[in-house]
Symmetry: C2
Subunit: 205 residues, 2 copies
């Protein structure tokens, strides 16, 4: 393929920066940059300012490591929430996803990743020690492991479980099963198998 020649160094540089973004190729980057060029100066300044301010101003909650504008995030600071239950998730999106369900009233602990030797992520690279310490303080009575059902997620679950076992605290894992609305026949065997093993009593709703 011919390397696209840009008529402007500034354009070339901006396209290069945009194409570093995940899932954005050079063609899309060019489209975004040219769109940006058509906007008002003030809109572009607003865009770059928002990015810079986020990068400089963002904080992580000292308790749960969720993103926050304050030292302690609104969830951890909310005394109406159940302080005895902590849900362990991989990242910030997972917190938002669970919050959206409006089914969970406890607190979170954001690991910031999962154990993945292939990607050079060990237990020390994610917020496991702070979780153990947090649990050690005595308020927490149950830890819910809500990581993705991947090999890395399961490894991390197991690692955390082993670390927490000596404390005698209750450790649970979110249910694996057939997703609501999915066809049974298309479910993979492991999921289907687990959904039978972990069956629950039928409840009239």
């Amino acid at each position: 393929m011919i390397q696209q020649q840009y008529p402007s160094q500034l354009l070339e540089k901006a396209v290069q920066e945009f194409s570093k973004l995940p899932g954005i190729g050079r063609k899309t980057a060019l489209r975004l940059v040219l769109w940006m060029l058509r906007q008002d100066d003030s809109d572009v300044t607003q865009f770059t300012a928002a990015v810079n301010e986020l990068k400089c101003g963002v904080k992580y909650c000292k308790v749960c490591h969720n993103i926050s504008d304050t030292d302690i995030c609104p969830i951890c600071a909310d005394q109406r929430r159940d302080q005895t239950t902590v849900c362990v998730v991989e990242n910030i999106q997972d917190v938002m996803a669970i919050e959206n369900t409006q089914q969970f009233n406890g607190l979170y602990h954001v690991l910031g990743g999962v154990i993945s030797p292939m990607d050079g992520m060990g237990p020390a690279d994610i917020e496991i020690d702070s979780l153990i310490q947090r649990v050690g303080e005595g308020t927490v009575q149950e830890v819910i492991l809500a990581l993705s059902p991947t090999m890395e997620g399961d490894t991390t679950n197991f690692y955390i479980y082993r670390k927490l076992a000596p404390t005698g605290i209750k450790v649970s894992v979110i249910a694996r099963g057939i997703a609501v609305g999915n066809e049974l026949e298309y479910a993979d065997e492991v999921t289907l198998g687990r959904s039978i093993t972990n069956r629950t009593l039928f409840e009239e709703k």
Copy 2:
């Protein structure tokens, strides 16, 4: 749908800005912003600086209105190029696309759009007057219309042709026909019809 609650105002603002970009929804915007957060401060500064510098520093060639770092773009300034042939295109991407073919050695004229009453774009909103003026200066001997074969493109072609007719200059249109590599049977009738009307003598290559 539940409006996603962000744990941080700064995050909310950055996501809002990213989701203004064409083809970027809120979910992708969030992914991009969180990716940005994981980058080094210097990388983020470099990104925003590239966008700001482009917006402030970019120029448009005074002759052809292509994007440029200088008052006259490198193509217009290149004396080895055929100064008598001007290819009229809709936008900057089209210049790059034609340059990539390495089949054209003349100059360009970037209209910056096509006549489209539905979008409120009239002849005065695009660089038609400057084209007429440029042709009037006497060097140009042929104008090649290379707009997209859409209704708007054809309208613009016709408008430009009518404006140039009194000058007696040669006006040509890029060939419409079956794309190289395409199956004949899947071509639409208009294209197929034109490809027969506009047949060329067979040449051994």
